[in-house]
């Protein structure tokens, strides 16, 4: 593992740690010679919040969005399903949203596109020396933005890019993906992977499932909450996270109806009685 330690050091040296008040030089605008060059041939992983913003921007359902613009690469070792933005079939492998004038979904562009050129490392990553979050600069060789004459702080960049709203929903998602179930090496069954996919990424199909299956007969969900999740994708998403934590990890984030317990108990009693006879 010695080599690994050296590599980590090397990375930390190559990417000096920045905090929110650190300054760097960077600008990206229509007149940089590399304009739009970076919007192709990249792996952009979409978060649940990214998908909600994008499908709204495009005025389509999450189901249609996923089908048309993404793929969920198969990997039996992945802890949970991930969504990758599908690049084009042209020579440059262009992002489906890049146009002459730049990003066509700019107000709702994904988190990863906002962050560049900043990278972020958070505690919970494997490095033991990482006690708190820090930032670093990713210098893609094609990117001429570093030659621009503009000084700004990390904080300014994050504000400028509207990262804060993303972070708020990112936190909820992180609670799922960094749950001790995963840290302790837990693996999801195919059925749970499907549940994860549904509640995190396909919010419209998840809503149908909640309202059209026997879901609401099983869980206590009051009228106010029902109304909220019926109307609001973000409320639906938060609700979905709670449901996933309950069903994947056994966290007490949902309340099962008494009637479900009662009928379960009656079933068990009948079974016991039968075995006794």
């Amino acid at each position: 593992m010695r080599e690994l330690e050296n590599l980590k050091e090397h990375i930390l040296k190559d990417y000096p740690r920045l905090d929110r008040s650190s300054q760097f030089t960077f600008a990206c605008h229509k007149n940089v010679p590399c304009f739009n060059e970076c919007c192709g041939d990249v792996n952009i992983f979409l978060t649940p919040y990214d998908i909600i913003r994008l499908k709204k921007n495009l005025r389509i359902s999450s189901t249609e969005f996923l089908k048309k613009y993404t793929l969920s690469p198969f990997d039996k070792n992945l802890k949970y399903p991930v969504i990758l933005l599908m690049m084009g079939d042209d020579a440059k492998k262009k992002c489906p949203f890049v146009g002459e004038q730049g990003c066509r979904v700019y107000p709702d562009r994904p988190w990863a596109c906002r962050m560049y050129p900043l990278g972020m490392a958070s505690p919970g990553d494997e490095s033991p020396d990482l006690d708190r979050e820090f930032y670093f600069l990713l210098r893609e060789s094609i990117c001429k933005g570093f030659n621009e004459d503009r000084q700004l702080t990390v904080e300014q960049w994050l504000d400028d890019q509207g990262i804060n709203e993303y972070d708020q929903y990112g936190e909820y998602f992180k609670k799922l993906t960094t749950h001790r179930f995963f840290l302790e090496g837990g693996k999801l069954t195919p059925q749970k992977i499907e549940m994860f996919f549904l509640a995190c990424y396909d919010i419209d199909r998840f809503r149908n499932f909640v309202f059209e299956s026997s879901f609401l007969e099983k869980f206590e969900v009051d009228d106010v909450m029902r109304e909220k999740i019926r109307r609001d994708d973000l409320e639906m998403l938060k609700f979905g996270y709670n449901w996933l934590r309950f069903s994947m990890f056994g966290d007490s984030t949902m309340t099962v109806r008494q009637s479900v317990y009662d009928s379960r108990k009656a079933e068990l009693d009948a079974k016991m009685k039968k075995e006794k006879d």
């Binding site: 010695r2 992983f45 990997d75 990713l138």
Partner: protein, 95 residues
């Protein structure tokens, strides 16, 4: 002490240390990837991705030295992800 060398189970070439990009689902910051353009795994991947997802993409063999897990790293082109390769390793001469 000998240096750890990881090799690709598909082509036998040495895997290259690679800096994991942000927001990927992998928490390990340095992983090992086979960047051999003639690796059969990478070459076969194009057909597989086309048949599964109707896309012109492939994947490379990836190894996570912390968890010991392996899996595919999706790529859209031959050169994709290559700028994440960590080439310079002073520690090589120590052994």
């Amino acid at each position: 002490m000998s240096r750890e060398i990881y090799t690709c189970p598909y082509c036998g070439q040495e895997l290259k240390p690679w800096a994991t990009p942000e927001m990927a689902c992998w928490s390990t910051r340095v992983q090992y990837v086979c960047f051999n353009d003639n690796c059969p795994y990478f070459l076969k991947g194009w057909d597989w991705m086309r048949s599964q997802f109707q896309v012109n993409a492939s994947y490379r063999h990836r190894f996570d030295p912390v968890t010991g897990e392996t899996g595919p790293l999706p790529v859209w082109s031959k050169d994709a992800m290559k700028n994440g390769i960590i080439e310079n390793q002073e520690n090589q001469c120590e052994n």
